[in-house]
């Protein structure tokens, strides 16, 4: 068993887990944060993307013990209270989701992508950057649109949040 301790969505949490416990299972089962999903077992689909110390990681591909001592943000911690993050707002406005299962990982990956491209994004870059996230519903058309729109909003507002729709 391993003792793990980390900050999740601004709150310090700790627990005793089997050594083999993946970060995603610690978040879902120990912390009850079920917004982070498991869609494959091979780190291909990206439904499990969270932020660790400000960077997107696939929480199905690392042990909870490896994340011990780090700062984790999940989809539940992205909005500022009732104010949606601009990427969340853009996914809604541009119909960037259907069944919603890949959505948390998509949004977390998109936030990271926008942060890594302060000079802005174009369609080709967004599509290439989405390599690690699979969506079966939308054909990506509206996801790409939403990320491009959010990128512009964030450039203008420097990350200011938008009132929930």
């Amino acid at each position: 068993m391993s003792e793990v301790s980390m900050v999740v969505n601004g709150r310090r949490v700790s627990g005793t887990v089997e050594d083999r416990t993946l970060l995603v299972h610690f978040l879902r089962e120990n912390q009850g944060l079920t917004g982070t999903h498991v869609g494959c077992d091979t780190s291909q689909c990206g439904a499990c993307v969270v932020h660790m110390d400000g960077k997107a990681v696939k929480s199905c591909s690392m042990l909870a013990a490896q994340a011990s001592g780090s700062e984790i943000v999940t989809i539940e911690g992205l909005a500022n209270g009732a104010d949606l993050h601009p990427v969340q707002a853009a996914f809604k406005e541009h119909h960037g989701l259907q069944c919603g299962f890949c959505t948390p990982g998509m949004i977390m990956a998109a936030v990271d992508m926008i942060n890594r491209h302060p000079g802005g994004l174009d369609e080709k870059t967004v599509r290439a950057e989405l390599e690690g996230n699979i969506c079966r519903c939308t054909g990506y058309h509206n996801i790409v649109k939403a990320i491009l729109a959010a990128s512009q909003t964030m450039a203008k507002g420097k990350g200011k949040t938008k009132k929930a729709a």
């Binding site: 917004g35 999903h37 996914f91 809604k92 406005e93 069944c99 519903c137 054909g139």
Partner: protein, 784 residues
């Protein structure tokens, strides 16, 4: 059109929970005392089970129960069935082999469930599942349907001699033969429709909970149709009577057909919950999903298309072998028959059509309806052969299609369908204009200078949705009726709940269904709630598949709204001392037309419940239900154009343009409709370029069992799409809706392959058109 009513591009109500991580899927459910299950599955494609030794597994840490098929059978749990009876052309009923939820004496595909282990944690359940010692005697396997029909092939089921499930036909063979003989030109093709894995992003899951105190079962499951699941589990599998079984399908992460069926796992989890005394949750991992979700397509077809000297189509003859896998899944028999062969007339006047279909058992996962279900296969056959015929006789593929379009409606095809309405030329013209079809040759020349091979291909599809009426499908063999139900409850404060038998797993019903209500009563969208997916809340329903929720599900709501409106107007008329016929509903008020006399909606609702001042003899309350059974199928149709560039050095195909012009009849929310088309096209392009399920022919092992091996379409594989719609209202339902969920997956594969074969000037190309295949076809073409 109001701001939130029919036709408005309203953002989805359900999105809030999904974008904040608050969606609730089956794997998110926790029941006190809940334990975890893992299934022991066959590693062989075909083997006899000699012995199952569970002793070691039972002693593993955390193990609560290890249960096998023998105990399941002893408890009287029934075999899985296919619910649509098809008769062979000799009149004999289809040959259905037995499918036990847990295999007892023989396994027939890799992944066939043999035992269930229940343990404290998922990890412990898996560890113990590996410790279950099953002694198998491996048998020869066959995975290819054509090979399975040959004499000497391994035999799967004693009920199906020669692995043949049925040998079925439709249409007039002699008339088709005669027309082919007399034809000026006959195009002959061998067409393979590649096997696909649906791959909803949420893996299948089930949580079975037997409540001893109430002697009652609850099943949370990833289902597109929880009521059908309850019906089938009660009526056929003997899990529990309907009044003792509640099925809940909460948020479901995509279905695409694969979550219509009742699988062994939910049956076994419910049974195991009673047996072990704990709630039992099972969640598939992705490889389990690849192995055991019902697959799609897998047809091998020979086709002949006959043209007269004026290029009018005179006949179509089709001979198809359909791979059904190891067992007949719930809906499987209908897919290559009434959802396939009946659509072979496409958008064309074809005087003589004949289609023969052989359904075959193989040692592979069961095959059933996957987005489009039969209609993509029909469209692929027809649109490939029509395009090829145009090339062979040297006319424009667009003009050959235009010449043969059906132009007068209703139109009776030679293969059952009676098309009620359509305007195919409008879609063709819209697509050609959007794609700048006329300017293509210039673009081809330009690409050539850049060293690329550019090609253009089109596809004019038709599909049949809202499968109905019930009496008609019953006469064709369906075991259920295909109506839908709705209940509209107006609360005392005027807010409204709509209970529907449809199920939303991405389609946005919480928004579109509410738009229907908002349109009718002027009630804001946020005061309308849609309730679905729970058999304890909604009495009965048939669920969501076959693009039926709009045409059938919303029509049921429409019918219930009619009844509510009638009563609401009666109450208002009484309150306003006016004639019922003079009451109109506007802006949230019930008004006497042409006067300023009005009663607000909420006040009328309150009056219905206070019942202090109702018309003589009227019952209190305001709640109405309806069952709606359509009068006909609906027939969405459209034209898709794909333009590609092939790199001759690598065989890599890039889709440089994709245009969709669809006729879906009336549209409730264009944003959601466009989203459905985008997703459908992505799946169709996936089939055409990337996806192919591969079994090793010798061992029957599934080679493509993860996302490392099965190529899912990713963002960089696809372009942005140019989509548009034309609206020829459907005369067969009160809302004029045709359905839009499957069109993209139906229309796109032939458009893509027609484009690539145009680019490389070699028509001999099978899906998925991987760079390797395209390169080889290109080399073969240039050698000639």
């Amino acid at each position: 059109m109001g701001m939130e009513g029919i036709g408005a591009r309203v953002a989805r109500k359900e999105d809030k929970r999904f974008i904040t991580g608050a969606g609730r899927y089956v794997d998110d459910m926790v029941v006190p005392g809940m334990k975890h299950a893992a299934f022991v599955r066959s590693p062989y494609a075909h083997a006899d089970i000699r012995k199952i030794d569970i002793k070691a597994a039972e002693k593993m840490p955390g193990v609560i129960a290890v249960l096998t098929g023998k105990e399941l059978k002893a408890d009287g749990i029934g075999n899985l069935i296919c619910g649509w009876m098809i008769h062979s052309k000799d009149g004999s009923p289809m040959n259905m082999g037995a499918w036990s939820p847990l295999a007892v004496d023989r396994v027939r595909y890799v992944g066939d469930a043999v035992a269930i282990v229940v343990a404290e944690t998922k990890g412990q359940a898996r560890d113990a599942a590996e410790a279950v010692a099953v002694s198998y005697k491996e048998k020869k396997a066959v995975t290819d349907a054509v090979a399975a029909l040959k004499s000497g092939a391994p035999q799967l089921h004693p009920e199906a001699a020669g692995n043949l499930i049925y040998d079925w036909e439709i249409g007039d063979s002699a008339a088709a033969d005669k027309a082919i003989k007399a034809a000026a030109h006959v195009t002959t093709m061998h067409i393979v429709n590649n096997r696909l894995v649906p791959n909803a992003m949420e893996p299948r899951a089930a949580l079975g909970h037997y409540d001893k105190a109430e002697d009652h079962y609850t099943c949370w499951t990833t289902s597109q149709n929880p009521h059908v699941a309850r019906l089938v589990m009660s009526a056929f599998y003997n899990v529990a009577p309907e009044n003792k079984l509640r099925v809940i399908a909460p948020d479901v992460g995509g279905g695409f057909g694969s979550k219509i069926y009742i699988y062994p796992e939910e049956i076994v989890c419910l049974w195991a919950s009673k047996k072990s005394g704990v709630p039992v949750k099972w969640v598939a991992d992705r490889t389990e999903s690849f192995m055991t979700d019902a697959h799609g397509r897998d047809h091998v077809t020979e086709v002949k298309l006959a043209l007269d000297k004026d290029h009018k189509i005179t006949a179509l003859k089709v001979d198809t072998i359909a791979n059904f896998g190891a067992y007949m899944s719930l809906f499987s028999s209908a897919v290559p028959t009434y959802l396939y062969a009946t659509l072979l007339s496409g958008q064309y006047v074809i005087p003589a059509i004949h289609c023969n279909v052989k359904a075959v058992y193989t040692n592979t996962a069961p095959v059933d309806a996957y987005r489009g279900a039969g209609r993509p296969e029909a469209t692929y056959v027809l649109e490939r052969v029509v395009e090829t015929a145009a090339r062979e006789v040297g006319v424009s593929p667009a003009e050959l299609r235009r010449k043969n379009f059906i132009r007068s409606f209703p139109y009776q095809t030679p293969v059952i369908m009676n098309y009620d309405a359509g305007d195919y030329e409008t879609s063709l013209n819209a697509a050609m204009k959007a794609a700048d079809y006329a300017g293509f040759e210039k673009r081809r020349e330009k690409a050539k200078k850049a060293g690329k091979l550019r090609g253009i291909g089109m596809s004019c599809y038709i599909e049949a949705c809202g499968i109905a009426p019930s009496a008609a499908v019953g006469s064709l063999g369906a075991g259920v009726g295909l109506w839908e139900s709705a209940e509209v409850r107006v609360n005392a404060v005027g807010t409204i709940e709509v209970l529907t038998g449809s199920h939303s797993h991405g389609q946005g019903h919480e928004t579109t269904f509410a738009q229907l209500v908002s349109q009718r009563f002027g009630v804001p969208l946020d005061q309308v709630s849609i309730v679905h997916g729970d058999t304890d809340k909604v009495q009965m329903g048939m669920g969501t598949y076959g693009s039926r929720s709009g045409a059938v599900g919303m029509s049921a709501i429409h019918k219930a709204l009619d009844k509510v409106e009638t009563k609401a107007k009666k109450i208002a008329a009484h309150l306003l001392e006016a004639d019922e016929g003079d009451i109109v509903i506007e802006n949230g008020e019930l008004k006497v037309a042409g006067t300023d006399k009005a009663v607000p909606w909420f006040q009328m609702a309150l009056s219905a419940y206070t019942a202090h001042n109702l018309p003589e003899g009227m019952e209190p309350g305001l709640k109405e239900g309806a069952f709606y059974d359509p009068s006909n199928f609906t027939f969405p149709a459209g034209c898709y154009i794909c333009e590609v560039e092939v790199d001759p050095d690598t065989g890599q195909t890039e889709i440089v343009q994709f245009v969709a012009a669809d006729d879906f009849g009336n549209i409730i929310n264009p944003m959601i409709v466009e989203g459905q088309v985008h997703g459908g096209i992505a799946q169709g392009v996936g089939q055409a370029l990337l996806e192919g399920c591969v079994y090793d022919a010798g061992s029957g092992q599934l080679v493509t069992a993860s996302y490392m091996d099965y190529t899912m379409p990713r963002a960089s594989d696809l372009p942005s799409f140019k989509v548009s719609t034309s609206n020829t209202p459907c005369p067969s339902n009160p809302l004029g809706i045709k359905g839009c969920g499957e069109a993209g997956a139906i229309g796109s594969p032939p458009a893509v392959i027609n484009a690539i074969t145009d680019a490389i000037q070699n028509n001999d190309l099978a899906m998925p058109a991987t760079p390797q295949k395209v390169w080889a076809a290109l080399k073969a073409a240039t050698r000639h």
